[in-house]
Amino acid sequence: MSMIAIKNVSKWYGDFQVLTDCTTDVKKGEVVVVCGPSGSGKSTLIKTVNALEPFQKGEIFVDGVSVGDPKTDLPKLRARIGMVFQNFELFPHLSITENLTIAQQRVLGRSQDEAMQKGMHYLDRVGLKAQAGKFPGQLSGGQQQRVAIARALAMDPIAMLFDEPTSALDPEMVNEVLDVMVELAHEGMTMMCVTHEMGFARKVADRVIFMDRGAIVEDCEKEEFFGDIDARSERARHFLSKILQH
């Protein structure tokens, strides 16, 4: 059953077309990695899934709910989809505990106790229980990103979106975040991840999507994507040869 269905989505900024007829599908429990050169529209595409970016053409369904339908209760839909950003986006004026509980209480209407319990459970899972009383500014980038993942998980999401979750991190912190994501994938979370971490893709992805200039150029099984590089489009090969050098 498809959890996220993207059908012929196009989007323009004025005259500039950012997304061109994008179609793909993320099934329940599937992990899909989206990669592509800078400016190819990866962030834009992933943000259309929870309506942070509106789109002009096509349709997107999340768990059967149409994202583009004006009648859809967007806050309610978004509350069911977790999202992790490149720059963490923890709320700097709130403690780690408050970051974890604020949306649970204000959006889901959970009691303080329940929100606290959930929040602490996930904070523990990302290995940061000891930091509960601190503020985001007092944590390292890797720690902040793990808190951000815990914050999203505490909402009991049906799917998780990641937009380059490790690209703002110092190299030595990348793995602590990837480890959390790998674990999540193994537990069967539905995940759509924009990332250039091909090691992560090889380890847990079911499918890999390659985007270029706003279009989905490749969309295939991981084995197929990495198995025969020569069978890939020229742009994908060029892109892969650049990032696999590192």
Partner: protein, 221 residues
């Protein structure tokens, strides 16, 4: 120069200062609240709403405060009369307060708007992604951060307002300056009382300004 009558006059000068401070506190509070509403309207994607807010801000920033004070002194009772159909006596204090709130809101609006715009769009996206609606995202995430950043500017604007409250003399309200002037006339020491009043304004404004600058430095770190 003979400052001998100032000490015995302190109680009546203090009465004037109380009015000044009362007016200031209420005007700052009302001005920031209305200014915030205007800022949100100005940033709204609804072009009618943002256009109206922009026109409001541009209008009040282009006319003298003294004009607003005198005009509201005449207009507020008339408008109330027109709305309620009965004659309601509105004191000079109330009409001055309304004038200050409406005038200062235009300035506070620009400060609040800059404050909200200085918070990254990513914070708003994060709030939305967690399922918050516009009101929650503003109230819980954006405004608390924006206000923290703009506290020095809001205070600086309020210090200017503190000095501008003296314009209420135009409608006969006895604020600190007017009290000093009246008292000086009665005592035959007009110059001395005005010099004293000037010194008081200077000490308060300059002192507050210094504190704000220090706060600004501390927040900047």
């Amino acid at each position: 120069m003979d400052f001998s009558q100032i000490i015995p006059s302190l109680p009546s000068l203090w009465d004037g200062m109380k009015l000044t401070l009362q007016l200031l506190a209420l005007a700052v509070l009302g001005g920031i609240v209305l200014g915030t509403v205007l800022a949100l309207a100005r940033m709204s994607s609804n072009t009618v709403l943002s256009g109206l807010a922009k026109a409001y801000v541009n209008y009040f920033r282009s006319i003298p405060l003294l004009l607003v004070i005198t005009w509201f002194y005449l207009a507020v009772p008339m408008i109330l009369n027109w709305i309620t159909g009965e004659f309601i006596a509105v004191g000079a204090f109330t009409s001055c307060l309304v004038a200050f709130v409406m005038f200062e809101a235009a300035y506070y609006c620009e400060i609040v708007r800059a404050g909200i715009q200085s918070i990254s769009k990513g914070q708003l996206n994060a709030a939305y992604a967690l399922g918050m609606n516009y009101g929650q995202a503003m109230r819980l995430i954006m405004l608390p951060q924006a206000f923290r950043k703009m506290t020095p500017l809001l205070l600086q604007q309020s210090i200017i307002l503190f000095q501008d409250t003296s314009l209420v003399y135009a409608v006969g309200l006895i604020d600190f300056l007017n009290a000093a002037r009246a008292r000086g006339d009665i005592m035959g020491q007009s110059h001395e009382f005005l010099i004293f009043a000037g010194a008081v304004y200077f000490v308060i404004s300059f002192g507050a300004s210094t504190v704000v600058k220090r706060l600004q430095k501390r927040l900047a770190v």
